[in-house]
């Protein structure tokens, strides 16, 4: 906790005032570097100071800066809060400047974590962020169980039971190798069970994702090179559907631009203005961030310019999104066609200028999420992002199991990944590693000296 962290601490809506919070031992020094006004190093604690945020000599925004010195602050560290005039571009610009001047982007919940670790907030307040304390405590039993509905928890328990029986059998083969009358688990046997387990996990996963969509909306990002018309498409969608300024708190990294409802389904559009390149440092930061966003998004709207050939960077992004839910939007069809459309399987042609293609885009989104089907389902599935990512992680480990089998690895190596699947599924329902495996071993097999 020696470094200084910064993040946009308000959920951003168009035109709202935004607060950027900076915490850590260099918080005041860092903000002072980009602040034109009083010398913040010398102002009293708990004061609000008027001035401007500047980039070299260029004024970025007119701001109010609150300076709060340790320990009477939320995190018990020096804290500075910058009130900007909102607007995503400006707020992001200020954040970028802070990052360039020595702070680091805060992880989700990191302010709360610091507050907790510094003894600023008590348990009851902190319980909500317990899962962020560290990887081990993330397994917080109660929290996990509360997130999981009884039915799905039963499904996962059954899955784990299937797995632990295989594990126990492998363990017995290892620990009691001289017992010939115990069935030997081979890679082939594991492979058979793995396909079965995979189908079951995928089933839970797809229903869970649907459930999350109903509850929270489709996390949608619009990406594309500068000037391809991202904002116009966004504005067009928002105007059409009367954007609601969001009050759903995203994590500090996600800046939710607004919600759009299409036939009752919410799209949470996430701004990617921060991806814009200004110089090398920010470029690397921007690429990293956009890749992160791609990973997290339920839907990617990738906008290309009909009037330009595909750039190297665009090709790279196309490759990145190919296995994700995505829609390719060919914008500016009112201009001459210079983009080779033959390389795409599917796309939506659109022209903001001529007002064509928007309906087609909306239909495509509806088809993609099969919304009629979802509404009829009974939603008893995992709906937290944490559980879903753990499910995905367990699928990854299953992939590794298969890979190991293909490479002809010994059964006890393959088992490492299978055990990981079992542990990860356990994390979802809040069951941490214990002596379960050994208990299983002794109840399932007859051994002795």
């Amino acid at each position: 906790m020696d470094d200084t962290i910064a993040a946009i601490s308000t959920a951003l809506g168009v035109g709202a005032i935004s607060i950027i919070r900076v915490s850590g031992k260099d918080a005041i020094k860092i903000v002072n570097k980009i602040f034109k006004g009083k010398n913040l190093n010398e102002v009293d604690s708990h004061t609000i100071n008027y001035g401007h945020i500047v980039d070299n000599n260029e004024i970025i925004d007119e701001v109010l800066v609150s300076v709060m010195r340790s320990p009477k602050t939320f995190t018990c560290e020096d804290v500075v809060e910058i009130n900007t005039h909102g607007g995503i571009a400006i707020t992001n610009k200020v954040l970028e400047l802070l990052l360039l001047n020595g702070s680091r982007l805060a992880l989700p919940g990191e302010f709360t974590k610091r507050a907790f670790l510094n003894g600023r907030i008590d348990l009851i307040e902190a319980e909500g962020v317990m899962d962020l304390i560290n990887s081990k405590t993330e397994k917080s039993r109660k929290l996990a169980i509360n997130q999981v509905n009884g039915e799905v928890s039963k499904l996962i328990k059954n899955l784990r039971q299937d797995i632990i029986e295989i594990l126990a059998n492998i363990e017995v083969n290892i620990d009691y190798p001289e017992y010939e009358d115990i069935e030997e688990v081979t890679n082939q046997k594991i492979l058979n069970s793995v396909s079965d387990i995979e189908i079951k996990i995928k089933n839970i996963l797809s229903k869970s994702i649907d459930g999350k969509i109903i509850k929270e909306g489709i996390k949608t990002i619009i990406i594309g090179s500068p000037n391809v018309g991202k904002s116009s498409i966004l504005n067009r969608l928002i105007n059409e559907e009367k954007a609601i300024v969001t009050d759903i708190a995203g994590t500090t990294r996600d800046i939710v631009e607004g919600n759009i409802t299409i036939d009752g389904i919410i799209l949470n559009i996430i701004d990617t203005a921060g991806i814009r390149k200004t110089d090398n440092y920010v470029e690397s930061l921007g690429v990293k961030k956009s890749l992160e966003l791609i990973d997290e998004a339920d839907l990617i709207l990738y906008v290309l310019n009909n009037n330009e050939e595909l750039s190297k960077e665009e090709k790279y992004i196309l490759n990145k999104i190919k296995n994700k839910n995505h829609i390719i939007i060919i914008n500016k069809t009112d201009l001459d066609n210079r983009l080779d459309l033959n390389i795409f399987n599917d796309y939506v042609k659109l022209s903001i200028k001529n007002d064509t293609g928007i309906d087609e885009l909306k239909n495509k989104i509806k088809d993609m999420f099969n919304l009629e089907k979802i509404e009829k389902e009974d939603f008893t599935y995992l709906s937290s992002a944490r559980s879903i990512s753990l499910l995905k992680k367990s699928l990854d480990s299953l992939e590794s199991v298969k890979e190991g089998i293909n490479k002809n690895m010994p059964v006890d190596m393959v088992e490492i990944d299978l055990k990981q699947v079992w542990n990860t599924l356990g994390e979802i329902i809040g069951e941490t590693y214990s002596d379960e495996l050994i208990d299983q071993l002794f109840s399932q097999f007859c051994l002795g000296k």
Binding site: S70, P71, C76, F116, L117, N118, G119, L123, A126, E127, M130, I133, S135, K136, T137, E138, K139, S140, R141, K142, E171, N173, I174, D175, Y176, P177, E178, Y179, E180, D181, G404, K407, N408, M409, P410, V411, D412, M413, I416, Q420, Y433, S434, D435, L437, I438, L441, F442, C446, L447, G448, K449
Partner: protein, 623 residues
């Protein structure tokens, strides 16, 4: 006046007294009977899955068991040789006469070590510090440190059918008062039980009705010294048989006569799950038509055959019927009947990770008294207790092996953190990172510790460092040398059933292919490397991905283990701790956050509270 007194001459006691004496501390080993030093009262074997790796670890640290087993082998094989390197382990039949004889010889030839025959009935304690022991005859012997390795001899009861006799495995007098004294001093005493099968006169068995089980046809040694004392062709075989329907019928009909099923009404001891008696197996696994039994030779010097898998506490007449129902044993003569033994042990949660007791300073305990079962489990604790006793005498920090460093670390951490209900046996499944804890790399993991405490000689350490350097050199060589797909090379690879090359490839990446063995690459490598060096390199490269994964996982644990909990923490002052967690934390007093997390009943929420409390109370920086 001695620096160290070791009470008990079993496997733990031998290792403990050898360690302290070799490090240079004047040591007295007290045993009830010199004839029973390093005795093997149960099965005639050393090693086995996980246990075999422990023997290697003992050897890497400078203990005696590996070398001593090598001197007394009747048969040896590598278990799980068809599986991955992580789970391979040696198992040997060891001669029950030679093993103790060789160990006694070593003890007698060790400087700083005296042996005395006597029964210890009390400890001398002043201000919660141990000062020595009191013998049965009232004689007092003083020392700075006492290590208790009393095995099953605390209030031992031998149970056969409806009889209970207060005696040890060979009919010797057990220690009747020591466990009461320990109770008075504040130790929780638990009652455990284990059993052993019959010994049969070899000449009365018809081996034609059995299946032959031979040793491996290559040489193995437990010790990294690699001194071979046996001939492959002279190994003694074991034999396999199965229980018969008749056997099961006899047991079912006489179940109420077994000590454990009604024969005795006052059984308190909890038996081991991994080693149930034959009546347990038949009751618990009704559907199983037959059970495997191994006939194992005990020694070249007498004719007893041990029936592995047939332990029971039935009365003698029923045992006769049971044994005679087995194929080849129709006319068998029973030299020694099976029995169960009940004994006192202390609750290992009252120990520190160093094996020093929390209640009495300078008192260490090791082996079966701590609730474990097995010669290897006992020996490794004895070694660690001996090492830590020495370090304590020298005012140094104890040697605490982590769970990712050694099975010994797993065992001790399990004991002191989780405590036990039934006798504890080491299993590979107890280790989270077993790919790191291999048979082949025990020296890589532990030899330095052995050297640092003074149990590994300069000469041996140099040899080890050379091996380590060769491993690095060879790895580097493979990484920096490529071969190109010439016709000649592809033809050579074809003779080895290795698919042909299309592009040039480093030897390192070639070795990653499942069909390629490191010996296949000999012709591409400059210089000659020892087979143990090649083995290390091959395993490291072939399983690199898996090893990396385990190291990553292990590092997470190490991080948590490095977050220390201050010795004087007062759990009553931490608000909101769950009461179950508080009670366990107060009892176990974990030394690190990692250890605290492994205590059942302590939840992550409790851990967070402890972390905040520590931060506030102990590291509240100058604000």
């Amino acid at each position: 006046m001695y620096e160290v007194i070791v009470v008990g001459g079993g496997h733990a006691g031998c290792e403990a007294s050898l360690a302290t004496a070799r490090i240079g501390h004047k040591t007295l080993l007290i045993t009830g009977n010199i004839k029973n030093i390093a005795d093997m009262p149960c099965n005639p074997s050393i090693g086995g899955s996980a246990k075999g790796i422990v023997v290697r670890e003992i050897d890497a640290l400078g203990g005696e068991m590996g070398r001593n087993a090598d001197k007394s082998l009747l048969q040896i094989k590598m278990l799980n040789s068809a599986k991955g390197p992580a789970v391979r382990a040696l198992r040997a039949q060891a001669d029950k006469i030679t093993y103790p004889k060789e160990m006694l010889k070593t003890l007698e030839n060790t400087d700083n070590l005296e042996i005395k025959e006597a029964l210890v009935e009390d400890l001398i304690i002043e201000d919660s510090k141990v000062k020595g022991v009191t013998l049965e005859n009232g004689e007092k012997i003083f020392s700075n440190i006492v290590i208790l390795t009393t095995g099953t001899y605390l209030k031992a009861d031998i149970l056969v059918g409806d009889t209970r006799r207060r005696e040890g495995p060979h009919g010797e007098k057990p220690s009747n008062h020591l466990s009461d004294k320990l109770k008075e001093y504040g130790f929780n005493i638990i009652r455990l039980k284990t059993g052993t099968p019959q010994r049969i006169e070899k000449s009365s068995i018809d081996f034609s009705k059995t299946k032959l089980e031979l040793g491996d046809d290559r040489y193995w040694t437990f010790s990294f010294d690699n001194e071979v004392h046996y001939k492959i062709e002279e190994q003694v075989p074991c034999h396999l048989i199965y229980t018969q329907p008749e056997t099961h019928k006899i047991i079912q009909e006489n179940l109420n006569k077994s000590s454990m099923y009604g024969g005795l009404s006052d059984i308190k001891g909890v038996g081991p799950r991994y080693c149930p008696s034959i009546e347990d197996k038949i009751v618990r696994f009704k559907d199983k038509e037959r059970h495997q039994l191994f006939l194992e030779p005990e020694s070249l010097y007498y004719d007893d055959i041990y029936i592995q898998g047939f332990s029971t506490s039935m009365p003698k007449d029923i045992q006769e019927k049971m044994v005679h129902s087995l194929p080849g044993l129709e006319n068998a003569i029973i030299n020694k009947y099976a029995y169960a033994i009940e004994y006192d042990a202390i609750d290992a949660k009252q120990l520190k990770q160093s094996l020093e007791t929390k209640i009495i300073e300078n008192l260490f305990t090791a082996g079966q008294i701590n609730g474990t079962s097995g010669y290897e489990e006992a020996a490794c604790q004895g070694l660690i207790a001996g090492i830590n006793a020495s370090l304590k005498l020298e005012g140094k920090e104890p040697l605490i092996l982590k769970r990712n460093e050694a099975y010994i670390g797993v065992l001790i951490d399990d004991l002191v953190t989780k405590g036990i209900i039934d006798p504890y046996r080491l299993l590979t499944s107890r280790a989270e990172y077993r790919l790191l804890l291999r048979h082949d790399n025990a020296d890589m993991r532990l030899r330095k510790y052995g050297y640092d405490v003074g149990l590994i000689s300069e000469e041996k350490y140099k040899k080890f460092l050379n091996k380590k350097a060769s491993v690095i050199m060879l790895t580097d060589y493979l990484n920096t040398h490529k071969i190109t797909p010439t016709k000649e090379i592809n033809e050579y690879l074809k003779t080895l059933n290795i698919s042909e090359l299309k592009d040039s490839i480093t030897l390192y990446n070639l070795l990653k292919r499942s069909e390629v063995k490191i010996d296949d690459l000999d012709r591409f490598i400059d210089g000659k490397y020892e087979s143990d060096v090649k083995e290390q390199v091959e395993i490291n490269i072939k399983y690199e991905g898996y090893i990396k994964k385990e190291i990553e996982e292990a590092n997470k644990m190490v991080d948590l283990d490095n977050k220390k909990i201050p010795d004087d923490i007062d759990y009553d002052k931490i608000h909101n701790l769950a009461s179950e967690a508080k009670q366990k934390l107060k009892q176990i007093r974990p030394t690190s956050i990692g250890q605290a997390l492994r205590i059942s009943g302590v939840n992550p929420t409790d851990i967070s509270l402890i972390m905040v409390y520590i931060k506030k109370e102990y590291f509240y920086e100058s604000k």
